[in-house]
Amino acid sequence: MRLFGAIKHINYKHYVCAGITLLFVLCSVFVYPHNVLRLLESTRDVGVSIAFFFAQIFRIPHSISPTVTDLSSVTYFNEYTFGFPKTWEEFTVVFEKYWATFATSDNLTGYLSYVGSILYYVFIAIFVIALILLGLFAYLKIDIKRENNDYAKESRPLKVFKAVAIHAYLPTRKWLTSFCQFVSSHKAWWVTWLLIFLVNHNLISAVTSCIAYLFYFSVSVDVLSLFTQLYKLILDLSVGLHMIPLWGTLLFVIYLLNRAFKRIGYDRLNHHEMKNRGFINNLPFAVMNCGTMGANKTTVLTDMGLSQEVMYLDKARDLIIEHTMRFPNFPWVTLENMLKDAIGSHTIYNLATCKVYVRNLAVSGETFGYDAERYGVYFDNKLQHVDLWDSIESYAQLYFLYTLKTSFLVFNYSVRTDNVMRDKGNFPIWNTNFFYRNSADVDKNARYAHVLDFDALRLGKKMKPNNPNSNFFEFGVVGITEIGKERGNMIENYDKKKSDDKTNQKNDKFDVWLKMIRHSATVDHYCFARVFSDEQRPENLGADARELCEILGLRDTSEVKLARPGFFIVDLLYDLVYSKFVDVFLQYRHNRGDTTLLYYILRTVTSKLYGYYTGVYNTFGYKTVKIDVRRGLYDKPEEHKYYLAHKKIYSKRFSTDCFSDFFAVKALSSKVGINDIATYAGVKATFQELAQQDSYFVVNDLIKGFLSKNK
């Protein structure tokens, strides 16, 4: 009874999987019986080759004759050789014959007539499809003209279609989806199926033969037997090509091409990112992006900030590894655990407290269980003797930086970062790739830039005299958009004085802070601070601060390009279908309020195509921005290319209208909208209409000037 009870509780999908496995096994027995024999043969070859290998290298007398060099005794495949010659001698004869045939006109005309016969079927298929599409298009043209206001009403065929979908298609899809999830979560089933597939198509035999030959070749260096191996490999692989139908092979090839194209796309995006990082690394600590409105200044600023944050994590990790190499036997993990506790209890919350913590440990005589006598307390780097406690101090600061689960960005607008820390309780590793990200996880992994309190950047007077945040900034990436509006230039600040009681641009010593930024942020001779800013014109910022910055002149931005190759067919199809559908869509929406079956299908298909097309462009799309870098006052600007990848910078990263909330509040305080503002009565403005403009020129110069003259 217990057994029946247990069987009853087994998920019925296991029975389905068992049935599928049985079918596959039956296939092995009845469709591919010789392939199992071939697998046994190749396994025997491996055994014999290994025995031959060890007998040879240990010089044991033997009579082992390697079997891997023999042709397969399984005769089943011999008919599937594609005429490929068995021996090198045969191959040379066939090779000559091949090129002799290749250059004959008979062969060429025969091929062209063959291509012609294929084209005949292709054109028939195109003709039939075009005819069907034309018919549907003509029907739709007539259908569109049936004007109505039947809002959200569905036609009878559409209702029938949806009923069939609800009762047949949707449950089938739902079951198949749940079954696929079931199989993917039960590794035993899909691994079994994969193994049976590989055995049935001789792929495992090909690999084992290859292993057998490697053992044999490494001690025999029998180059002449290589051709036999090639012949055997073609024989093994030919089974799959013969048994899998042409459409299956084509689908498999498309799948492989798609994977390869995706890989190339990701590789290109990563390469662009590395080029960007190289460019940023060559810039000084303060950078100002300049360009007209819409030149992507803030986008480039954000992109640079994100890359810089990742570079800091990478640098902290690399320096930590260097310290470990200096004192490889020091129990760094003990120090890390102590640091974790201190960070958790807020004893350590910045680099300065980190230093104090380590110095207190040194004073208290903490040894961490390190055998200093045996392993030493100095590392000779041939420049100086590095003291262990100096190394511990730097390590502690770097570990604090590396394990900080918050963003390094301190911006005057919000930016989302999504580096993911993988931690198993030992040494954590960051996943900092911007491109292999699932859009569903955007909110889950989101961390946002810290609010920039400008008082923290002022060494002089502060806006809030007792501001608790005024000394927080030690390290990080500072981002200031519209810096000229914040700081102003000499003309804008002419009425402000250093002696003013209130803080202003002349007495807050922001420029001094900018000059001294390295001092608080340097750990192990590397500076972990950077300032990125943007403004429309460099001259909008005062000369002192401006000359500390490298000015990047953003020129033109390119059209969107695709890093993934091989997308042109979808591009063409999309251009054709989408533009045609948009015409139909607008006309249909204008004339009709209901939905017909044809319109529904057309809309669904176009929507699917739109989703796929948009997804690929958002994943692999990028733009290039031409940047002029002016290094010296009189130098000719150098032109650089900066890459803006859509997946990195437009994935809910920042809001281009970052000050919009101010304007929203301003607009809410208004009692009138655009519809309430008077329009001109004709093409020529009247005197009263001109007066309504509140213009300096019209009201102050023209109207008031006119009135004063006529007094």
């Binding site: 594609f82 091949y98 062969n107 025969g110 042109f568 591009d571 063409l572 251009d575």
Partner: protein, 32 residues
């Protein structure tokens, strides 16, 4: 016609020509 469309059509033609050329090599192999 957009420049992008022209480039894509040229790419398609290029791929078809490449398939026809590779096909000739395979066809010749099958003929000997």
């Amino acid at each position: 016609m957009k420049k992008k469309t022209i480039v894509n059509v040229l790419k398609l033609v290029g791929v078809i020509v490449a398939i026809v050329i590779v096909g000739y090599f395979i066809y010749t192999g099958g003929n000997i």
